[in-house]
């Protein structure tokens, strides 16, 4: 009994220690933007789950494809039904590391330039990506921001010829996550 209690205390201490190093949000923001001479198309998603481990730099986010909001209902329908097939592939994920996590001083307010490297999965296709971004430490919170481009063809997203002039082959992705220390 005594041994079990000691083991439980060790497990509890380990959990507290690990969770104190994690920053999370359930309301991260991702926007994608396509620009062509014919029209600009953008969509917004404010339901992004994201977590950053301060100790080892692990950084993940998960996006529900059906949570993207478009200005036009028809665009949203085409996006879900034809382009990303969100019934078949409901999530997009990123799982990687902040390569220079050691350069971020989580105890001091400031903006830190970072490089994030990992696996981006969209429509069931995973590609290695390395992108620049910033992490701003502000009053105990961490605001992560990055803007990068993806090629639709890399993720098996085919645009029909009839609307090929309306949708860019390269899409700009903006990510902003306001991470808070996981309280436990």
């Amino acid at each position: 009994m005594k041994k079990a209690t000691i083991l439980f205390m060790f497990a509890l201490l380990a959990t507290v220690s690990v969770s104190a190093q994690k920053y999370i949000t359930k309301n991260g923001y991702i926007r994608f933007f396509s620009s062509t001479p014919v029209e600009d198309i953008e969509a917004h998603n404010r339901q992004v789950n994201s977590a950053l481990d301060q100790k080892n730099g692990d950084f993940v986010f998960k996006v529900l494809m059906k949570s993207f909001q478009f200005e036009k209902a028809l665009m949203q329908e085409h996006f879900n039904e034809n382009y990303v097939e969100s019934d078949k592939f409901p999530n997009a994920t990123f799982s990687g590391k902040v390569k220079n996590i050691g350069e971020i001083d989580f105890t001091r307010n400031g903006v830190y330039q970072t490089t994030v490297e990992g696996d981006l999965t969209i429509k069931g296709i995973t590609k290695k990506v390395t992108e620049k971004g910033t992490f701003e430490v502000k009053d105990g919170k961490v605001i992560g921001k990055s803007t990068f481009n993806i090629l639709l063809a890399d993720y098996g997203i085919k645009i029909p010829n009839t609307v090929a002039s309306n949708i860019s082959k390269t899409i700009q992705i903006d990510v902003e996550v306001n991470l808070e220390k996981l309280a436990k």
């Binding site: 359930k26 789950n49 996006v63 529900l64 059906k66 949570s67 036009k72 019934d87 996981l182």
Partner: protein, 145 residues
């Protein structure tokens, strides 16, 4: 004869114009669905939906994603990140804190949930967009009762 051809041409042009207007307003520019007025595909307890997603996410996704759900449960909290108002029904404590069902309220219903005390029983209706391994996400939500 020439007059008949001109008349037929004018009629065809008119029909084409009407078709164009129809396509522009009712297809290309059709409005987003008003989920507060939509009929629910499923009416059930929120905890039951959460359990289905948690135990078999693939099966539950096929059943509920993109469907209108009317879910009843106990309000745990109301969060207001940025411009959103999110009603939360929590059922578990996981690696990312509390887990359950998260309802993003339509702006006109935000005040209704803010006014409700945590612990109260609510029925909220909206579009289920899926499960992100911690929570079931509901969008465009309104208060049923």
């Amino acid at each position: 004869m020439k007059r008949k051809i001109l008349t037929a041409g004018a009629v065809l042009a008119g029909l084409g114009l009407i078709a164009g207007i129809f396509v522009y307003f009712f297809l290309f520019n059709k409005p987003h669905t008003d989920y507060s007025k939509a009929e629910a595909d499923f009416e059930m307890k929120a905890v039951a939906v959460f359990e289905e997603f948690r135990t078999n996410p693939e099966l539950a996704s096929g059943k509920y994603n993109g469907k209108v759900l009317s879910l009843t449960g106990e309000l745990t909290a109301v969060e207001q990140p940025d411009s959103l108002t999110i009603a939360v029904f929590s059922y578990e404590e996981g690696m990312f804190g509390s887990e359950g069902v998260r309802f993003t309220m339509l702006p006109e219903y935000a005040g209704s949930v803010i006014a409700v005390a945590p612990g109260s029983t609510l029925t909220l209706k909206g579009l289920c967009t899926g499960y992100n391994e911690t929570d079931v996400i509901m969008e465009h939500c309104s208060v049923v009762k």
